[in-house]
């Protein structure tokens, strides 16, 4: 295991979180957008509420445009991708140029989507590049410590987002199981008590999503 600074540890973790946030929110957005076409135009309101982001949008079209592409909206997908890039670009020597290039490609794809007449088609390329990024993380980062921190960020973000969106218990359970397997491989300090509580919450008959979000956010010390 190579030496790694506190700052890089933090950047690796947030690279994992933001890349996952981009991927999953794009996926959720695509589903919601489809529904907003002709079923429930106001569905974005519920989406914002669950995500705990302010509903600053005037219509479904405004939501589609600004939630995806408004760089001044700190909750937009493009802002989250910029944060993923900001963390990745300072980690070249930890993750390698090839790994970094997939985040760079996602940025280019996002900028292209922003200008496109059919942005949903182009946004698929952003997701493809994020998936490729995760693949290359597994394939080419030899340092398990570095790899595990990125993946821990990804897992925590996914559980957080899934819980906020009240996803199926089975899906959440799968992600929490992966989180359990990963967290000890990072060398990072976390609350074992909270981890045990998360494991308990997911088994409860009446799943308390809000409490789960609170616990996952406070897991790392």
């Amino acid at each position: 295991m190579g030496i790694i600074s506190l700052k890089h540890t933090d950047q690796l973790y947030w690279l994992g979180r933001y890349s996952e946030r981009v991927y999953t929110t794009l996926k959720l957005f695509a589903e919601k957008y489809d529904s907003m076409i002709d079923l429930n135009e106001a569905e974005y309101e519920d989406f914002c509420k669950k995500q705990d982001i302010p509903n600053i949008y005037s219509s479904s079209e405004d939501f589609a445009k600004r939630y995806c592409f408004d760089e001044n909206d700190t909750n937009s997908i493009i802002s989250n991708l910029t944060r993923a890039y900001d963390n990745a670009v300072v980690l070249r020597e930890e993750i390698g140029s090839t790994t970094l290039s997939y985040i760079q490609l996602a940025v280019y794809a996002m900028n292209k989507a922003k200008l496109s007449e059919a942005p949903l088609l182009e946004l698929q390329h952003v997701r493809d590049n994020i998936v490729a990024f995760w693949g290359i993380v597994d394939d080419s980062i030899d340092d398990e410590h570095v790899r595990s921190i990125i993946k821990l960020g990804k897992r925590i973000e996914r559980v957080d987002l899934f819980a906020r969106m009240h996803m199926d218990r089975s899906e959440l359970k799968r992600e929490i199981l992966k989180l359990n397997r990963r967290i000890d491989r990072t060398g990072l300090t976390y609350s074992a008590k909270r981890m045990a509580h998360i494991n308990y919450l997911i088994e409860e008959d009446d799943l308390n999503y809000k409490e789960l979000v609170g616990e996952i956010e406070a897991l790392l010390l």
Binding site: I4, S5, K7, V89, R92, S97, L100, S101, L105, G187
Partner: protein, 439 residues
């Protein structure tokens, strides 16, 4: 002849360069912008014989410059022997009094030198500038070569070239030679530095750790890297990409937020190597450049292999008179400026500006040098599918371990503007690979 198959991949290679984030940063209106560095597929080609000559000249020059820096901060023989006037040494901004009497590990000051050359139309190579502080640019041809080989393997099968992808190995050798037992780190001011891509790429390629100042700490006259758990690991080499004055707020500019307090004290005690050594600016000042052939003669007892561009120092009365008389034929350079700034072509100035400039030279003769305008040999670039000639220079890199090592390649920078001699990336220039033929 060499590049027929290569040129058709111009767009692909530039797309790959964008993919790998091969950029440089510039500040415009106080805002940071990242820009792609335009790459032209047609390489500069240098024959094995010609490069052997350049190599010989560069090694000689670096040896002399290293001896000069050592001399200035210790015995000052070259001043006592009146080879160089002392005001040229001490009045320059590159001279640092803090370096007096300090010896770097293994006596090396100029670990990495970037020497700018141009080739005149008659084929003569001239040295334009020595960069001995933080020369940048090697990473660009290095990664470009790698991508070109992927696009057109046949080109590299047909042409027998020196492989320039060994730069990281040379750099590692340079680091290891002066290591005072510890990790090797590359110290960057951060991602908003113009050359951040290079910092991160060289860290990746050499296996060094890329760090900011606050990740290093000094304790008991040693330098340490602090890991995420608070554990300290000794650092033996710092390839610092921040300038002398910001390196250590306790020894240089106290307002520096990017430096490491007391790192210079660790260096002074021989407990860490700083690459390049602080104080090197005393030798790459544009005013000192004039004296390099004299240095070579003084320290090595040899004539300079590579020529300086014909240069005049208005500091000397005779030269001042020549400069004023032949103003229109000369290029005037402000010795305090870099990056293509502070360069004025006499014939391009309006009459009024010309006269006030002449007065300024008379008032501050030490501040300027004047050079004959060398008619560079043009090099073709591809523009909109056509070959067009442009001015270009060559930055050659010399690394110093036990002996100077000349990297068998270099950064060829060209002006995209047909009427300009300025090739700097910050002023819109592009770059080419530099091929050195192996036979």
């Amino acid at each position: 002849m060499y590049t027929k198959n290569l040129c058709i991949y111009s767009d692909s290679v530039n797309e790959l360069l964008a993919r790998y984030g091969v950029k440089f940063g510039i500040y415009k209106d106080n805002t940071f912008h990242e820009q792609l560095f335009p790459f032209d597929m047609i390489p500069r080609v240098i024959s094995a014989e010609e490069f052997a000559y350049i190599e010989r000249g560069l090694k000689q020059r670096i040896k002399a410059l290293n001896l000069f820096i050592e001399d200035i901060y210790h015995n000052k023989r070259i001043i006592h022997d009146k080879i160089i006037p002392e005001e040229f040494v001490y009045a320059g901004s590159g001279y640092l009094a803090q370096c007096e009497g300090v010896s770097p590990p293994r006596g090396i000051y100029t670990h990495i030198a970037g020497i700018d050359l141009v080739q005149a139309k008659d084929g003569t190579w001239y040295i334009l500038e020595d960069n001995l502080r933080i020369p940048s640019g090697a990473s660009y041809p290095m990664i470009a070569r790698d991508l070109c080989r992927k696009c057109s393997p046949q080109t590299f099968r047909d042409n027998h070239l020196e492989d320039n992808r060994n730069y990281a190995k040379l750099l590692r050798k340079t680091f290891d030679y002066v290591n005072t037992e510890g990790h090797t780190v590359i110290l960057t001011p951060g991602r908003y530095n113009a050359a951040y891509f290079e910092h991160s790429y060289l860290a990746e390629q050499t296996g060094a750790h890329l760090v900011n100042g606050h990740e290093l700490t000094v304790e008991d006259d040693k330098l340490y890297f602090v890991d995420f758990s608070g554990k300290k690991e000794r650092v033996g080499v710092v390839y610092r990409r921040i300038s002398d004055e910001y390196l250590d707020p306790m020894n240089f500019k106290e307002e520096s937020l990017i430096g490491i307090p007391h790192i210079y004290d660790v260096y002074r005690k021989g407990n860490v190597a700083l690459i390049n050594a602080p104080g090197n600016g005393v030798a790459d000042d544009k005013g000192i450049y004039y004296f390099v052939p004299k240095m070579i003669n003084y320290y090595l007892g040899e004539e300079a292999v590579l020529k300086n561009a014909p240069t005049y120092l208005p500091y000397y009365q005779e030269d001042l008179e020549y400069v004023l008389m032949h103003f229109d034929d000369l290029v005037i350079k402000d010795v305090a400026e870099a990056g293509g700034y502070g360069v004025f072509f006499g014939n391009k100035l309006e009459n009024k500006a010309k006269e006030s400039f002449k007065e300024l030279i008379k008032a501050e003769p030490r501040r300027f040098i004047a050079q004959e305008v060398i008619d560079f040999r043009d090099i073709d670039i591809m523009e909109h599918g056509e070959f067009v000639p442009r001015k270009a220079d060559l930055r050659a890199f010399v690394l110093m371990a036990e002996e100077p090592m000349v990297w068998k390649s270099g950064l060829t920078r060209f002006s995209r503007n047909p009427d300009s001699f300025i090739v700097n990336s910050s002023q819109g220039g592009g770059f080419k690979d530099t091929w050195v033929l192996s036979r």
